[in-house]
């Protein structure tokens, strides 16, 4: 085997709540280590993180409960270090090592 190329990694905590944890092995908190850049050499954004989660972390076939038409499905909030992602640049936000990314599905019960 050849010498494995050292790909810099970032460490993240990704959390799911409001029912989304069902799609991810019923586990609310995932500690993730992933390449710091995507296949095109660009820094990881929320968009590419979502893609990574669908490919590598989701254990459920019902991806449409998480992603629709290439974007996060309506009714899911993304919270970056306890702030609404709208305050941080949404899908284009470049994920930093140590970030806490929380995906919350809205609840409607009462």
């Amino acid at each position: 085997p050849g010498v494995a190329q050292e790909v810099p990694k970032i460490e993240l905590v990704v959390e799911f709540s409001g029912g989304l944890e069902m799609l991810f092995s019923d586990q609310r908190r995932h500690s993730l280590s992933m390449p710091a850049t995507d296949q095109d050499g660009k820094p990881v954004t929320i968009a590419s993180l979502i893609d990574h989660l669908c490919r590598h972390t989701m254990r459920d076939q019902r991806t449409e409960l998480f992603v629709l038409d290439g974007h996060l499905r309506p009714g899911i909030l993304v919270l970056i270090n306890d702030a609404d992602w709208e305050l941080e640049g949404e899908e284009a936000y470049e994920v930093q090592s140590g970030d806490n990314i929380l995906f919350v599905s809205t609840l409607h019960g009462g």
Partner: protein
């Protein structure tokens, strides 16, 4: 204005003494509670505890909207109803309970579901609204009418072992003013696909989880009212979303939220939403949300 209107009666000092002595309430706060009119939409798992603590606190007028009747499966969490009142209208049952707790409050029963047609008539009589309903269709309608009528909205929801709470349209500046608080559509511009709602709706609910959220709704309403919705100081509040989870160890988390969305369908300067359009039924909330009936599982 005769001055007696602005003091408390002797028995009110007895009944409300323990909250009156709090600096954050005081006589001024108690008088504001007494002159406030609060609307609770939904007399279920959220509405029961919310109504109980608002009634106890001495709100002047408490309106309750619900078209349903009490069922046995409600009673594990809808703690203001009772076994003897199964099949009674929920509004009648909840008012009967509240009347027993505090007969000083004026209770108004709206024994119907909120609709685009009746929303203006009902909501316009009140100063602040609690969304205690259980389906996305109602949540968009309630948010829209609160934006149009400029009412702050305390919105909560719960499912399984999770809960969420946010105070919307706080404060309720005219549409297009960025200093006003976000509305439900600012936070959730598009409704969730019906499949995702249904699959969650079948999940059940733990009584004290929805109970905690309902009590917190009463708390937020009391805080907004006692601080003075009638004062010039009432102004921009940093919106935050409270997340509650009772799975694993019990935990709460507060999330900083965005302000008003500059292109919001309801509360932005470019919004074309009007009371007439809403009433005419041309906004089909049911179709918009893709849910034909309220998710009555809760």
């Amino acid at each position: 204005t005769p001055s007696w209107k602005w003091t408390l009666k002797e028995h009110e000092y007895a009944r409300y003494g323990r909250q009156l002595i709090l600096p954050s309430i005081g006589i001024a706060g108690q008088l504001r509670l007494k002159s406030a009119a609060v609307l609770i939409i939904g007399a279920g798992g959220l509405g029961c505890p919310a109504a109980a603590y608002l009634s106890g606190a001495g709100i002047g007028t408490l309106g309750i909207v619900d078209g349903d009747t009490v069922e046995e499966s409600n009673l594990h969490r809808q703690i203001a109803h009772s076994t003897a009142r199964i099949n009674m209208k929920k509004t009648d049952s909840l008012v009967q309970y509240c009347q027993g707790l505090n007969p000083e409050v004026c209770y108004i029963r709206h024994g119907t579901h909120l609709t685009p047609q009746n929303a203006e008539d009902i909501v316009s009589k009140y100063g602040i609204v609690l969304d205690c309903t259980d389906n996305p269709t109602s949540r968009y309608l309630i948010s829209d009418i609160c934006v149009l009528l400029q009412k702050p909205l305390v919105s909560a929801s719960a499912l399984k072992t999770d809960g969420q709470l946010i105070v919307l349209n706080n404060f309720p500046a005219p549409r297009g003013k960025p200093e006003g608080g976000p509305c439900y559509r600012c936070v959730f511009p598009k409704p969730p696909p019906p499949d995702s709602v249904t699959s969650c709706g079948e999940g059940g609910i733990l009584g004290p989880v929805v109970g905690v959220m309902g009590v917190l709704q009463a708390l937020e309403a009391i805080k907004v009212i006692a601080a003075g919705m009638d004062t010039p100081q009432w102004g921009p509040c940093t919106p935050s979303l409270l997340l509650f989870s009772a799975s694993g160890s019990t935990s709460f988390r507060s999330i900083r939220m965005r302000g008003r969305r500059p292109d919001c369908f309801a509360c932005s300067a470019s919004s074309t939403l009007t009371l007439e359009e809403l009433k005419s039924g041309s906004l089909d909330y049911v179709q918009f949300c893709g849910v034909a009936a309220p998710i009555n599982i809760l």
